[in-house]
């Protein structure tokens, strides 16, 4: 099937109105859930094949994550698809004011290779929930996962409404020439720009989930042993190939020493004496990335790790101390198991360091000093913030997850994913009876000052007098009244 055929098939499918039906969407989401549940082992297998991903990481970071995401979506579908009824002013007192979540049409979801199932399939599920026809383009780098998706989606989902397109740069370039109603891209800033440029030609709105160097600030008010575990866990899952992995640490010289000492203990406890032998540590996805990462090892001083093996694309968990802001390792997103530590003297220097650079996708702060925490959060900008832990904010699906500035645009997860793929269609339904015509005919010519004053008065915004919890308060009163009433009646009845 050529892309022209695909696009026209997708357009026809959307025009048929099939995907607008809520029951149809629910059925498709249930089918997607069944696909995850029936293929858990297979998913773990393809992830291991692409990234040598340990089973536990596959389960908690992809498989269970996907299942939970779909369950939330299915459970909330009725609520999310219901038209919203916003507050009305006096002018519209007699009218209906509604906001419909309308599907956008044919949308394109492009996934990344580092979490090759979760990153494409979470937005894909949301696109289905919002009633769109969706085309999914998994990353060609994680080839086993791409094949899994391409084989299984057609088995479980409607073949007219949901399509998978595989292929590399050439195919993607060709695909992007077509007009989509929305594009959701996860990946690098460089490709993000290509996607954004292609989208601009058709005025297509986009979500770009990119990356960046997410800083991790540690001060002396936290238990350094726990902090080290939480930082190293976030850094070394998936061998550091995580868009929100802590990229570098900002701390004082003293904390650096303690952190390194602690890290040695932790790594030994986690992976044993020979990390290469541990089944719980991933490999770098391809040679290009492996080569890029080994070059970064020449920055600063290696305090922990540093071993590599090109045959296996293995890079040992590595900590670089005394890294300078001019070192190669500080010029680009690392995206591998290399953790440089940059020394600063206090929170203010940390803020200065962070704000002098591109806005990161995540900002990590390890501190029990609430004041310092607040100062850093308020004076820096980042996609999200996670205090005293890493990665975990991604799992809170009531918060939008996404970047700002060079780390991306648009947030998703939970309801935010649904909203991403919906157009909020405002709808005002006015009466056309005599009263409503009388109320509004001052707007017609011939114009006069009297008409102006009347219209100004009518549309004037007033400060709404609103008592919090008014309905509850009223019902409390009703409860009191009812009881008194009943008690007064009852004795009389007994007599």
């Amino acid at each position: 099937m050529t892309y022209e055929d695909l696009m026209s098939r997708a357009a026809t499918a959307f025009q048929s109105g099939k995907t607008k039906d809520i029951d149809f969407r629910r059925k498709q989401l249930n089918a997607l859930l069944r696909m995850y549940e029936e293929n858990k082992d297979e998913m773990a297998r393809v992830l291991a094949a692409d990234l040598r991903r340990p089973k536990q990481e596959s389960y908690i970071l992809e498989i269970e994550f996907l299942i939970n995401d779909i369950i939330t979506t299915i459970n909330s579908l009725d609520e999310w698809t219901k038209p919203m009824k916003p507050e009305k002013g006096i002018v519209n007192m007699m009218d209906d004011v509604l906001i419909y979540p309308d599907p956008l049409g044919v949308v394109l979801v492009m996934g990344a290779w580092n979490y090759p199932l979760q990153l494409p399939l979470v937005p894909f599920g949301a696109a289905i929930a919002a009633g769109n026809v969706a085309i999914l383009k998994p990353s060609e780098i994680s080839v086993n996962c791409a094949n899994f998706i391409a084989e299984n989606i057609p088995k479980y989902l409607d073949n007219e409404c949901y399509h998978v397109v595989c292929g590399g740069v050439q195919e993607t370039t060709e695909l992007l020439k077509h007009k989509f109603d929305y594009i959701f891209y996860t990946g690098s800033g460089r490709v993000g720009k290509i996607v954004y440029e292609a989208a601009a030609k058709h005025l297509t709105p986009v979500t770009l989930e990119l990356g960046g160097k997410s800083p991790c600030y540690i001060d002396n008010t936290v238990d350094i042993s726990k902090a080290t575990r939480r930082v190293l866990w976030g850094k070394f899952i998936n061998a550091g190939q995580t868009c929100i992995a802590p990229d570098y640490i900002l701390c004082t010289k003293e904390i650096q020493d303690k952190f390194v000492k602690e890290a040695k203990v932790v790594l030994k406890e986690w992976y044993g004496d020979d990390i290469k032998k541990s089944p719980d540590f991933c490999r770098i996805v391809n040679q290009v990335n492996f080569q890029r990462l080994t070059k970064l090892l020449s920055s600063g001083t290696i305090a922990v790790g540093g071993k590599t093996d090109a045959d296996e694309r293995f890079i040992e968990p590595t900590i670089i101390v005394d890294a300078k802001s001019t070192d190669a390792v500080m010029q680009e997103e690392i995206f591998g198991p290399i953790l440089p530590i940059v020394n600063i003297n206090n929170a203010f220097e940390a803020i200065k360091f962070i704000t002098a650079r591109d806005k990161p996708l995540a900002l990590y702060i390890f501190s029990n000093n609430t004041n310092d925490r607040q100062t850093i959060i308020e004076n820096t900008s980042s996609g999200g913030v996670c205090v005293n832990d890493t990665i975990m904010h991604l799992a809170v699906d009531t918060m939008p997850f996404g970047g700002v500035g060079p780390s991306g645009m648009g947030g998703y997860h939970g309801k935010y994913s649904f909203d991403t793929f919906s157009h909020k269609k405002s709808c005002l339904v006015k009466k056309i009876d005599t009263i409503s015509e009388k109320l509004s005919n001052a707007r017609y010519p011939p114009y006069s000052d009297k008409k102006i004053n009347y219209l100004t008065f009518l549309t004037k915004k007033r400060k709404g007098f609103s008592i919090p919890y008014l309905p509850q308060l009223v019902l409390l009163g009703v409860g009191v009244a009812a009881t008194i009433f009943v008690q007064r009646i009852l004795p009389e009845c007994e007599q």
């Binding site: 025009q15 536990q56 389960y59 908690i60 269970e64 939970n68 369950i71 004011v97 906001i99 956008l104 800033g189 720009k193 440029e197 601009a200 030609k201 005025l203 726990k226 902090a227 866990w233 986690w270 992976y271 044993g272 541990s278 719980d280 029990n368 900008s381 980042s382 999200g384 913030v385 996670c386 205090v387 005293n388 832990d389 975990m392 904010h393 809170v396 699906d397 009531t398 918060m399 909020k424 269609k425 405002s426 709808c427 005002l428 339904v429 056309i432 509004s440 005919n441 010519p445 114009y447 219209l455 549309t459 004037k460 915004k461 919890y469 019902l475 409390l476 409860g479 009812a482 009881t483």
Partner: protein, 532 residues
Amino acid sequence: MEDWNSWDDNGDAPLLTSDIKREFPFDLLSNQTKNLIDFEMDGYENILGQLRATFRSGKTKDLKYRKKQLEALLRLYEENREEIINALAADLRRPRQEAIVFEIDVMTNELLGLINNLDEYAAPIKPDKGVANMFDKVTILKEPFGVVLVIGAWNYPLQLLLVPVAGAIAAGNCVVLKPSEISVHCSRFIAETFPKYLDSDAYQVISGGIEETTSLLKHQFDYIFYTGSNRVGQIVHAAANKYLTPTTLELGGKSPCYIDDTVDLNRAAKRILWGKNSNVGQTCIAPDYIICTKEIEKKFIEESRNVIKEWYGDDVQQSPDYGRIATDGNFKRLVTFMNCGTIALGGKFDASDRFIEPTILTDVSHDDPVMREEIFGPILPIVNIHDIHDAIDFINARDKPLSLYIFTSNNKDRDLIIDSTSAGAVCVNDTVVHFVCNLPFGGVGASGMGAYHGKYNFDTFTHEKGCLEKSMDYVSEKLSDARYPPYTDNKASYLSFMMKKRKFWKIPFFSHILAFAFGAAAAYYLKKYYFN
């Protein structure tokens, strides 16, 4: 004329494709990144550097400061009411009532809404937490983007610029305002008056035409808000690519107006003609064309004849309540539409005055020039259809419009159209007024992206920063240390159990029922122990 797909932003220029290509940075579209990288020093870096320094100082993040600036803007509107009316009259011969209702009142009300609700809009959101985050603090912080650019349009030269500017200020950003150079009096008014009322360290007006806008767009902004034509919208979007700047594009399109035989046609005609002829049709959400049956068409024209006479008298050109076309370029473009179909009403025009009479065209074919681009003038073609399904097909075969108007008292038909078409917004049994009722206002597809007004205006200029603050105590570490290697099946099952989404049985109106029960219980006990 085929290259025309929308109304234009380059005013009096002879509007030929070759001229547009010469004057507009069209090559931006194909090769923009290369072209944009080597911009010359153009004097804007100083202004932008100043704004950036102000933003970094944190001044604009202070809520009191924002409120003070918004109040100053409110004062600007109040103290310069007559100047505003005069500037609009000079640019568009806008009648006083239209100036007040469509610009001053809209801007004032938007500001009042923002000022009254600023604390609420800016307050961090506390979303629901799952079991896994029971002990943690979960907030969504409202963070300003930084230095934002707002580009206005000439058709509502104050409102379309200053309403989003108010949103940007309320959200805590520094703002560059770029008024349209076509509406020259309004542009001058803004450039002169704005700095007198608001802080120039944080807000700067930059005036100028295509050249200035082109070089301005080469600089880095944290957000761009553009109102105008589809074509320039593409240029703005392309320029935004260099720095991956998010944008709102408020564009236009041909907003259809469907009428069936269940409505009072006199009232319908009034509501449609008002929306169409206010500002002489130069309104992005004006009903562009009517779709109805032949019978309704006849009645509609009869009603319209009376309404126009009642409103503007026998000679519309003499009426003080009817505006003029903004530029010669647009006037010429509109006059060519008079050749489409049959003129059923109006049809007079006068180049010396840029006057075009309210005109209704019938027997228009689907591919007449007047049906191929947004009209943006007082010409109203009627396309005949046989039934509602025809209407839906007709709408869906075209670009998604900014607004869709439906005149019907048949609720079933109404819902059928709403459900099976897409548009920026829908207004039933009226035109244009959905603009002023706190709904998100914006297009979809070809009619734009992003929405504003009220809370949506604030949110447009705000980054929602998710923030999870975890505890680091013994319990919380115990709860979460199953995630660490060495991995085991036990650990994996424990984590799955913790993460598992459960469907909570939600009792509707739980808090209300609880309040009632509490009231009843309190009264019962009081009575029992104190009054007996």
